[in-house]
Amino acid sequence: MHELSLAMNIVEIVREEADKIGRCAVKRIDLEIGGHSGVVMEALTFAMDEAIKGTPLAEAKINYHWVEAVAACQECCQEFKPTEFDHICPHCNSMQTYLIHGKELKVKSVELEEL
């Protein structure tokens, strides 16, 4: 349900950029969503569809770039794909691992057309 908060934040961020330019239409939005960001993609796309209604984003093409989680092991320095509920290194069984990717929640870019 926090996906609606995220969607409204996205609208606000894009609107700020649009306001800098003036009268314009948002043509495209590129979002980056990490596999371990805590976001359910279906919930976010549903929330976005609702959040953009009646805004300059209403006609925008929204690209969702899913970023798979990648972790690295501090012990053996190898990388691996962690599951959401298990970050143990599959190479050496160390628990001392950290995420390199997967937490992304970003507006990467927007394309605006002046009217």
Binding site: S5, R23, L31, V70, F85, V107, K108, S109
Partner: protein
Amino acid sequence: MCGTCGCGDDEHITYRKPGQGHSGHHHNHEHTHHHGNTEHSHVHTHEHAHEGHHHHAEDDNAHAHAFHADGYDHHHNHEHDHGHGHSHGEEGHTHTIQLERNILSKNDLIAERNRGFFDALDVLALNLVSSPGSGKTSILEQTIREIGASVQAVVIEGDQQTMNDAERIKSAGAPVIQVNTGNGCHLDALMVSKAAKALELKQHSTLFIENVGNLVCPSLFDLGESKRVVIISVTEGDDKPAKYPTMFASAQLCLINKIDLLPYVDFDVEKAKTCALKVNPGLEFISLSAKTGEGMNDWYGWVKQLKKS
């Protein structure tokens, strides 16, 4: 920004102290749009958008990450000033802006302001998160009765509705403010900022923030806390950390509550710990019972240790 819908119009969020009437908020919600000069006589076309940061195995040998071969985009996290490309065609100006902006950047910014505010007052802020019914309020009541005066406990209560928890905390003897989030499923940094101001926080106090009972949404929202404490009770499944890993990954301490009921339930404490450690090897655990008081001294010791440091 409103926590429910992000619209900046948070009329439906209320901040009340026990005994206080309902005070509504009145915000004028206006958007001003600036209309730029659309008279352009440019005929040239130029593109200088900064299109980097998508690396594929075949075109980037500088990065030897193990999974490039699998074909997904490899994204870099570093911050940089965003590029701004624009082209002029028959359709008019098109601007491509590389934002690279965190969706939660506003919340995170306010959270850092809260953190600075707490730090300046030497306030220890603890964000307590759990499913509904795990015993957050009971633990707090007991904590306030036992060490409330010595650690100068103050409480922000987060719930969708009712003053019930705030009334319980007030009876236990701590200053409290109730944030009712309406339809919101979590507290956000702005709510905590407003609530902390209304509480008139004193120097060296300990602020317990009882989040809305929910193991999913609150995990994403930094409130500016010093530490995050996740609470589970033995009447829940011992695989809860595996089911809700994001929350357990983001906490520093896990309280396992209601251990007086262990003889009657199938909860395996060690299994729960193992599950949680798989996503957060640094997580600390304290088993306790707010009802019988067992283990509560360990929790008080943990809080007092943080007060010293």
